[in-house]
Amino acid sequence: MCYYNGQKVTRAEYIRLKQLEKALANYDFLNCDLNIGFDYKHTAVLKPIPGKEDFDIVEMEWGFRPHFIYDDESLLKMRTGGMNPKTGKYDPPIIMLNAIGEELFDKVSYKKAAMDKRCLILSSGFYEWRHIFPANKRTGLPVKTAIKYPYHIGVKEKEYFYMAGIYSEWTNKTTGEYVESCAIVTTKANGLMEQVHNSKKRMPTILNEDLAYEWLFGKLDQKRILEIAATQYPAEEMFAYPIAKDFIESIEPTKPFEYDPALLPPLKIAA
């Protein structure tokens, strides 16, 4: 006999319920090849249950809502930027899709979340643009404006993997609406990612099972949080391949696309 939720069930029923769990984990919001951060859509997140070594799989808005933002109007201003009537100057947009791991405790927005509200963001793969500067036909020098090629990146032999995340529990002070939102923690690019995301040389902090467990449930001090946030997943365990430039509109965004190798040289480390 087995127990499910404290109820005595047959082994067959236990397996059925566990299979249902797994099916649900892949259901709906997990079954999505492409999540464009700038759409501020919802993403699948593992959120710890306080006081337990257990978690809920929930949907959160990808795009951290900091505690000091008052309502939707001020949130929109933060995200889109614009002229500041008080200063008469242009405020650039503040995008909080990603949180730089090394700076988690330097930012007012992220400090508390890094200590108390860590989560894992489930991913089946992500996208980055590789910048290529071909030689100018006349001068032979690299052109100034890069040609960008999109890549799909993931972890070999893993349908899903974990990215370190932080989340906020935000309440709209005007309407009372409650929103959970998250940011993906990033680290310095590994040998593969520094070739792909060669403009910024950053990558998401991808965690193996042990580190994911520690990030989610561990009672960690600042030093350890920063150590885990700086994790570089091994390049040799990841893959990256080019995809079509119109992948965002494609029904198969992860489909490989072959470019002329003269235009897009192969990566030095690739699957």
Binding site: G6, L24, K47
Partner: protein
């Protein structure tokens, strides 16, 4: 609301319920009006062959036992 979505009174508030087929099994996804996360419910069979409501994944059995009978009553009344 349509047949797969309905709202019910529950403990002095309202809940929104979606009935979905996942892996050929019926589950009910319950949205509360408070801060709680969505609850996914299904009917399971105990080893004594009796049915019970349970949360999927595990961990919210008490809520499942509270909400499940309310959903069952709604289904009975609308058959």
């Amino acid at each position: 609301m349509d047949g797969d979505n309905f709202e019910l009174d529950f403990m002095g508030g309202r809940i929104k319920v979606q009935r979905r087929l996942v892996a050929n099994q019926t589950v009910y996804i319950v949205a509360f009006s408070d801060k709680r996360n969505h609850l996914v419910l299904t009917r399971a069979t105990a080893d004594n062959a009796n049915y019970f409501w349970t949360s999927v994944p595990e961990g919210r059995q008490r809520e499942a036992e509270q909400v499940g009978p309310v959903i069952a009553e709604h289904i009975r009344n609308n058959q």
